[in-house]
């Protein structure tokens, strides 16, 4: 049986860190703040590993299938007799996997930041924010209740906001943090409505009951829910789709992705943690969490998810080829990879062999966390070294940053899907799932994997090869042990994580899934990947004219991709021009001039009436007499003849 206290401690330790460092960090801890945060997270991480081990190998499997456990649960807020927000811990394969990923990556980032953030004025604050984020993310992962997930969802959002805007004096960071928050909040609005719909349909907020009620054919809830529709689409479909919108926002799916590249304004380790490994996959996690509902009750939404994922994957990959800011390249790459995970879920079915996409998605989530975090931390080292994000300021760094170079290369190979690195295995499974269920998506994914290899190696060559680097000014080198250790550990992950028999651990219905590995199937993607690497090598290994010529020949497409297909501009147009000018400003005008005006006009009418009847009081006593007599006559006539 799961140990509730141990599991509860996993999120609570970082939270303790947040409180401790947030309230007293500056005064009492100062430079030791990082160590405290790291130590707490280390414990948390160990507990997570222990939980994972216990779950997968000790108690989790009952009757040949992994079961859900809720070791702890309490009512946090009772809305009505049936609906309540419960806070609890849910242990099942995906949450355990996520526990491991989150605590591990978070630990790596904590350690790395000891070096990377050294000397920052708000060092304790930074660690407290990291603690808050870890807490929120872990709470999200462990949620037993759809509202609980929403709560932590929001908290994750705000921690992300805080961390992106960590350099609050930089206007671009402030703008980016705002953008991230508002865009995800917009998505959360959909999520919230989705929750309301689902909860209304199922009459519960608890995941287990909700899934059970909405997936049992012929259940009374389903029958009731079938009675409702809006715009000809059934309420459940709406609900599922809206919940997915929430996930899409956090996971930066097209077209809600615009915040992710900007979010790179945050400190690089933060990008590694939040915007590569953990928070951005929350959407995937959410879909996986509600997978039975998507798969069994609303397959049309699931198909939509598949398409959104596929489009995001290739869309982001194309943009990534044109970006020059290395973190932005990685950001788009993240988006693209999450697209993979999404469509893997989208093409999956529930149960047995059909559920391969589900396993693949979580598998890819796991491996991606390793190599993407590695990539970001590597990029962090580079940026730390050259004090710039731009490719043009780099080149030939392999001699100066050997550890970074090697680990970065491993990560690139892993993401490019070169066997036998981690990415290869997970990607292979995804492609297989897509191949089996949706050929169109399969081809998109195939092409994307080629592009992925290309842009990753474009990045790699531009940083480490290309032109020779002339160091200027002072350089700290690779930042010492605290910064290289995480690189090594993550590189190990990227190298070996693929060998984990994931199918036996995580599957859509809990029952182990035998992975069938066809060597022949892998030829196409691996070949495409290698072709991409080769192309990148030709173009970017050393400085030459070819990239320029190619981009020129691509013309409009290149420019469009370079400008991220003008999605940002579209948003800006909608918000600034439409919302501000057509709604906000008129509303403000209306308020000041019409609503308020009416009040003032009432006052003015009174005053001018008062001025108008002034003449009545003329001071002439005879006139008063005439008034009196007239009044008497008029009243007499009125009362004699009218009433």
């Amino acid at each position: 049986m799961p140990n509730a206290i141990n599991i509860a401690l996993i999120p609570l330790l970082p939270f303790a860190g947040f409180l401790l460092l947030g309230l007293f960090g500056k005064k009492f801890f100062g430079k030791t703040a990082g160590l405290i945060g790291t130590a707490l997270l280390l414990v948390s991480c160990l507990l997570a590993f222990q939980t994972a081990y216990d779950y997968f190998f000790v108690y989790g499997k009952v009757n040949g299938a992994y079961q859900q456990f809720v070791p702890m649960q309490f009512v946090w807020l009772q809305f009505s007799k049936t609906l309540s927000i419960d806070m609890g811990l849910m242990i099942d394969p995906i949450s355990v996997v996520m526990l491991v990923v989150v605590t591990f990556v978070s630990l790596m980032v904590h350690i790395y930041s000891l070096g990377y953030m050294k000397g920052e004025a708000r060092f304790p604050v930074y660690y407290s924010f990291l603690g808050l984020f870890s807490f929120s993310m872990l709470g999200l992962v462990l949620a037993t209740n759809i509202f609980q997930i929403y709560i932590f969802w929001e908290l994750v959002g705000v921690s992300s906001f805080l961390l992106i805007g960590f350099y609050y004096e930089k206007p671009s960071a402030v703008a980016a943090s705002k953008k991230a928050f508002i865009v995800t909040r917009f998505a959360d609005f959909g999520f919230l409505i989705g929750i309301l719909i689902l909860s209304y349909c199922s009459n519960t907020l608890s995941f287990a009951e909700l899934i059970q009620r909405l997936t049992t054919p012929g259940s009374s809830e389903l029958q009731t829910a079938a009675g409702y529709s809006f715009l000809g689409i059934s309420a459940l479909t709406w609900g599922a789709a809206l919940v997915f919108i929430g996930g899409a926002g956090k996971s930066a799916m097209f077209p809600l992705h615009i915040w992710l590249p900007d979010a790179m304004e945050g400190p690089t380790p933060v990008s590694a943690l939040i915007h590569a490994a953990t928070m951005v996959v929350a959407g995937v996690y959410l879909v996986a969490r509600l997978f039975p509902v998507f798969a069994l009750t609303t397959p049309e939404v699931l198909e939509g998810i598949g398409w959104v994922g596929a489009v995001s994957a290739i869309f982001a990959a194309v943009i990534a080829c044109t970006q020059t800011d290395i973190k932005r390249v990685l950001a788009y790459s993240t988006m693209s990879q999450i697209g993979y995970m999404m469509f893997a879920l989208g093409v999956s079915k529930y149960g047995g062999e059909e559920g391969l996409g589900y396993t693949a998605s979580i598998f890819h989530l796991f491996t991606h966390a390793m190599f993407k975090a590695l990539l970001f931390l590597g990029a962090g080292s580079v940026i730390h070294y050259v004090h710039s994000n731009e490719m043009k300021d780099m080149g030939g760094l392999r001699k100066f940053l050997p550890v970074t170079h090697i680990t970065f290369l491993i990560a690139c190979l892993a993401i490019a899907g070169v066997p036998p690195l981690a990415g290869f295995f997970s990607k292979e499974e995804i492609l297989l799932a897509a191949y089996q269920h949706n050929q169109a998506i399969y081809y998109i994914a195939l092409i994307t994997s080629g592009i992925t290899a290309f842009y990753m190696f474009r990045l790699y060559f531009n940083i480490f090869w290309s032109k020779p680097y002339h160091p200027h000014g002072e350089h700290q080198g690779e930042g010492g042990f605290v910064m290289t250790l995480p690189l090594f550990l993550l590189a190990a992950g990227a190298l070996f994580a693929g060998f984990i028999p994931f199918g036996t651990l995580v599957s859509s219905d809990g029952k182990p899934l035998e992975s069938h590995f066809h060597l022949s199937f892998s030829i196409a993607p691996v070949a495409l990947g290698l072709a991409g690497i080769a192309a990148a090598m030709v173009l970017y290994k050393s400085q030459n004219e070819r990239p320029g010529r190619i981009s020129a020949s691509l013309g409009g497409l290149y420019t469009a991709a370079c400008h991220k297909f003008y999605i940002d501009e579209l948003y800006l147009f909608v918000t600034r021009k439409v919302l501000f000018n057509l709604v906000g400003r008129p509303a403000a005008w209306f308020d000041r001039n019409v609503v308020d005006g009416l009040v003032n006009v009432t006052g003015n009418i009174t005053l001018s009436l008062s001025e108008g009847i002034r003449k009545m009081q003329s001071g002439k006593v005879q006139q008063y007499g005439i008034y009196v007599l007239s009044a008497v006559i008029v009243l007499s006539v009125l009362f004699i003849y009218v009433w």
Partner: protein
């Protein structure tokens, strides 16, 4: 004879004081400083005496009748006069004709007593005149001031005119019914067209005295022209008396045509509130301002009068008591300031709080009470008037009344704003208020604060019915 002494004790006491004053005047006279306390003491004695031995009874073949309620009404008026003698003492001490002033004022008070107690139209008419003519003379007591004469002239001429109309109405009523007795009229009233016309003629005179729009036009001019104590007397005591008698007239005498007078009262009350408020909004002179505010207040009183049951007469009596405290406090402050600095304009009150916090607080309290803001008594008074008026269930009317409170609040706050918020380079200098004026103001202040809180007062008034 004993019965006469007992039942008419208020009237007799006042008459006694009048004659005492006459003797003092005809004799060698007294200085103001000595006379004023004497008069104040006598008035207080009258007031205290009035509180005892009240019983029901009729004299002179029903021409005069009294009940405990009527006695209470008289005492309220007596209290008004007593308070005027206190709060206006600064002005009174300066006047040349103090004895005559009180003589006239008490004559008017006597008229009011008889008005309330009167049992037929003749007494009604005579006492109405007795309550008016001396006041017109008093209005002229600022003998050197042009405005005072003008006010007095307007007062006497327009009241003569109005009593002409009143008499014409009475004569018609007499012709129709053959009686002038209040107790016989209800049975004989035939509700014919001529009778209604006669009633409106008669009502116009009461409306004139109460300054109900459109019979109010003299009010502001006279208030502004007359000396402050006279204005206070007119606006408080005189109004109260007429309001009391109005109820008697409407509820008892003209009970058969209730449906007619109800509509009449509603129309005129709405008109009074509106016009009074609209004029008050633009006034500069504090007395004129209070004149129009009192017109609006009368409109409010009519709300209570309109429904014509026990609750409404209780509410009206209660409100008059409160109105007396509030308005006298306001006039008291106005007199003190006028007596010391000669300033009567609202703009002169700017920055008053800085120099005269006591006066400012009293004034503010009075104005809040007039506006009907709790915890002052005015709140209770107005609410009970509305409650009384509401029993007929015309909510539009109540709404109009309630909304009129907003306009009135607006202009009352204007004065408060001037005193508390506006800055002024040359505010009224600090004033050493005289002891009796201070006492009067404090009594008014206590009355404003406590009358409302002490619910038993209302119960007591109700129990007298």
């Amino acid at each position: 004879m004993n019965e006469l002494l007992l039942l008419m004790k208020n009237e007799l006491m006042v008459t006694a004081i009048i004659f005492l004053l006459l003797f003092i005047k005809v004799g060698k006279g007294m200085s103001n400083d000595r006379l004023l306390p004497v008069v104040q003491t006598l008035l207080l004695a009258n007031l205290i005496l009035g509180c005892f031995f009240n019983q029901e009874g009729a004299l002179f073949g029903n021409m005069y009748h009294t009940t405990p309620l009527i006695a209470l009404q008289k005492n309220i008026l007596g209290l008004g006069v007593y308070l005027i003698s206190l709060v206006c003492s600064d002005w009174l001490k300066k006047t040349e004709h103090l004895a005559e002033f009180f003589l006239l004022m008490l004559s008017a008070l006597l008229g009011m007593y008889l008005l309330i107690s009167g049992g037929n139209l003749l007494i009604f008419y005579l006492s109405l005149e007795l309550a008016t003519i001396p006041v017109a003379a008093m209005a002229n007591f600022d003998l050197d001031k042009k405005r005072s004469s003008e006010g007095a002239m307007k007062q006497i001429l327009s009241s003569a005119f109005s009593s002409g109309i009143l008499l014409f109405g009475i004569s018609l009523i007499y012709g129709i019914t053959g009686t002038i007795s209040f107790s016989e009229l209800p049975q004989l009233a035939d509700g014919s067209a001529l009778f209604i016309m006669a009633f409106i003629f008669l009502f116009s005179a009461l409306a004139f005295k109460l300054s109900i729009v459109p019979f109010h036009l003299w009010t502001a001019d006279v208030y502004e022209g007359a000396p402050v104590p006279v204005t206070a007397f007119l606006s408080v005591v005189s109004k109260g008396a007429v309001a009391f008698v109005l109820m008697t007239v409407l509820y008892k005498v003209f009970q058969p045509i209730e449906s007619t007078w109800y509509i009449l009262v509603v129309i005129l009350s709405v008109a009074s509130m509106l016009i009074g408020n609209l004029f008050a909004v633009r006034q500069q002179n504090i007395k004129r301002f209070l004149a129009f505010s009192s017109i609006a207040q009368v409109g409010f009183i009519l709300v209570g009068v309109s429904s014509g049951d026990i609750g409404s007469s209780t509410a009206v009596v209660y409100f008059v008591l409160i109105y007396l405290f509030s308005n006298l406090a306001a006039f008291g402050v106005a007199t003190v300031i006028a007596a010391y600095s000669g300033k009567e304009n609202i703009s002169d009150y700017k920055g008053l709080y800085q120099t005269n916090p006591f006066l400012s607080w009293v004034m503010a309290l009075a104005l809040f009470s007039l506006a009907g803001i709790p915890p002052t008594a005015g709140f209770f008074g107005k609410l009970f008037l509305l409650t009384a008026g509401g029993s007929k269930g015309s909510y539009v009317y109540l709404l109009i009344a309630a909304l009129n409170m907003i306009i009135s609040l607006y202009y009352y706050l204007r004065v408060v704003r001037a005193m508390f918020m506006d800055k002024n380079e040359t505010p009224v200098p600090p004033i050493q208020t005289g002891a009796s004026a201070k006492l009067g103001l404090i009594i008014c202040g206590i009355g404003i604060v406590l009358t409302g809180m002490m619910g038993w007062i209302y119960d007591y008034i109700q129990s007298l019915h």
